[in-house]
């Protein structure tokens, strides 16, 4: 922990989210220290995306706590966690203007330098002036990650970042995620792709019906799952 200069660790305690009389997130508790890739896995409807949205502040929990360091996930007024969605939200502007908009909206300093850095780092320089919505699926997801990266977050939430992509684009995005983690960014990703969780993550949070059933190192989760649900889920990989 780096005192008030970091928003980590994130502490989640007894988090509950209910909608329409149904309990969709059922009291998971965990701590998220700085660094590494954490994969949130589980069957459809397990509450993976909801958990990310709750942590990122897009949804408000019914009860329980989400405790960020700093000033509730902010440092000097700027939010230090960002999120990339399953279907990237592309504004009706050029690729460059999409990044510029995010920086302007969050009043980020050195915006023009960050824009160029983001375009260069994510291989988007040649596409910078193209309309973002006319880019391919893989290029759009790359732009969405570049846009989030430009905000210099400590924590990046990724919701099924490759579920809409072909294998080539998936490999590219996975390489990007690995490089971000290597730079020290803390990554939390929901994925239904167990291979991806195995390739990228060091830690797995296994959710089932909103409950956090298992919280383990990735190698342990896949070789010696503790719970019958996790064993069934891993064994049934091909069914999903």
């Amino acid at each position: 922990m780096r005192g008030t200069s970091s928003i980590l660790p994130l502490l989640v305690e007894g988090l509950v989210f209910e909608a329409g009389g149904r309990r969709l997130v059922d009291a998971p508790s965990f701590a998220l220290p700085a660094g590494g890739v954490t994969a949130i896995v589980g069957p459809n409807g397990a509450g993976k995306s909801l958990l990310l949205r709750l942590c990122h502040g897009l949804l408000t929990q019914t009860s329980g706590q989400i405790r960020w360091g700093g000033d509730d996930g902010r440092i000097a007024g700027r939010k230090r966690h960002a999120m990339v969605f399953q279907r990237p939200v592309m504004l009706r502007r050029s690729a460059r203007a999409n990044i510029a908009h995010a920086l302007a909206a969050t009043r980020a300093p050195n915006a023009s330098a960050m824009i160029e850095a983001a375009l260069a780092r994510f291989g988007l320089a040649d596409l910078a002036d193209r309309s973002a919505r006319l880019l391919s699926g893989g290029e759009q997801q790359r732009l969405a990650i570049a846009r989030a990266w430009a905000l210099s977050p400590e924590v990046l939430f990724l919701d099924e970042p490759t579920s809409q992509l072909d294998p080539g684009a998936t490999r590219q995005i996975e390489a990007l995620i690995a490089s971000l983690a290597k730079d020290g960014m803390t990554i939390v990703m929901a994925t239904h792709d167990l291979g991806q969780a195995r390739r990228l993550s060091q830690r797995v949070l296994f959710l089932n019906r909103g409950c956090l059933v298992e919280d383990a190192e990735t190698s342990i989760f896949f070789t010696a799952p503790a719970s019958p649900e996790a064993r069934a889920f891993i064994a049934g990989e091909l069914l999903w």
């Binding site: 990122h56 939200v89 009706r92 995010a102 909206a105 973002a132």
Partner: protein
């Protein structure tokens, strides 16, 4: 005068830059443009607000605004006439039978188009952008500039539609303007008057200008949708 002669005389008026003719065209354009600008300045924020807020009666208000898009211009003229007439609430302004009254009447006609179109455009964009914008702390009214800018093509099309409706209507401006020569006489009211008087060249000349205007508006709209397609994907 036969129709062929009327056509050649009409073209003579257009090509010869007849001062009376130009005065009528100029007044029409300035009244309509002013009305569209006022309606845009008032209507876009109103439409955006309607798109992003939730309150009891909101659906009824949306239905009402959508319904006003079909308001018969003559009725709009009558309402503005009542408000501006000497015994009406704004009678003290002395605006009846002035260009200002015509601007108000046309604003009343254009405003619902712009409010309704802005509302639906912004609402669609918000449902698509919502999570991204909340993630960037752009919530509530702070999201409006982003949404208006990204809806710019649809909104421009709405402005053109409003311009088309206002420039082509005759009933409202006739009632509140009074069709006073070289003061409140517009293209449409002139056409109605000159045709009934039998002065076909002037009526035809103005008719040709109106048709050209309509074509130009449609060409703009078409071009705008093409440009929009480049961005909307």
């Amino acid at each position: 005068m036969d129709v062929a002669n009327a056509f050649s005389a009409a073209f003579g008026l257009i090509i010869g830059f007849d001062p009376q003719f130009l005065g009528i065209v100029g007044l029409s354009l300035s009244v309509t443009l002013t009305a569209v600008i006022i309606a845009a300045v008032a209507g876009m924020p109103l439409g955006a607000w309607l798109a992003l807020t939730r309150f009891p009666g909101r659906s009824a208000l949306i239905v009402f605004v959508n319904g006003l898009m079909g308001l018969p211009p003559v009725v709009a003229g009558l309402l503005v006439f009542l408000v501006l007439s000497r015994s009406g609430p704004l009678g003290w302004l002395g605006w009846l039978f002035t260009p200002a009254a015509m601007v108000i009447a046309q604003t009343v006609l254009v405003l619902p188009i712009i409010v309704a179109l802005t509302r639906s455009t912004i609402e669609d964009l918000w449902s698509e952008y919502r999570e991204h914008l909340i993630s960037l702390d752009q919530t509530g009214l702070r999201a409006v500039p982003t949404l208006l800018w990204d809806g710019r093509i649809a909104l421009a099309t709405g402005l053109l539609a409003g311009f088309g409706r206002a420039s082509a209507e005759v009933g409202a401006v006739l009632i509140v303007g009074g069709n006073i020569a070289s003061y409140t006489r517009t293209m449409t009211t002139s056409i109605a008057l000159e045709t009934s008087k039998g002065d076909l060249p002037l009526a035809l000349g103005l008719g040709i200008v109106l048709i050209a205007l309509t074509l130009a508006i449609n060409a703009f709209t078409f071009a705008a949708s093409r440009v929009g397609a480049q961005y909307a994907g």
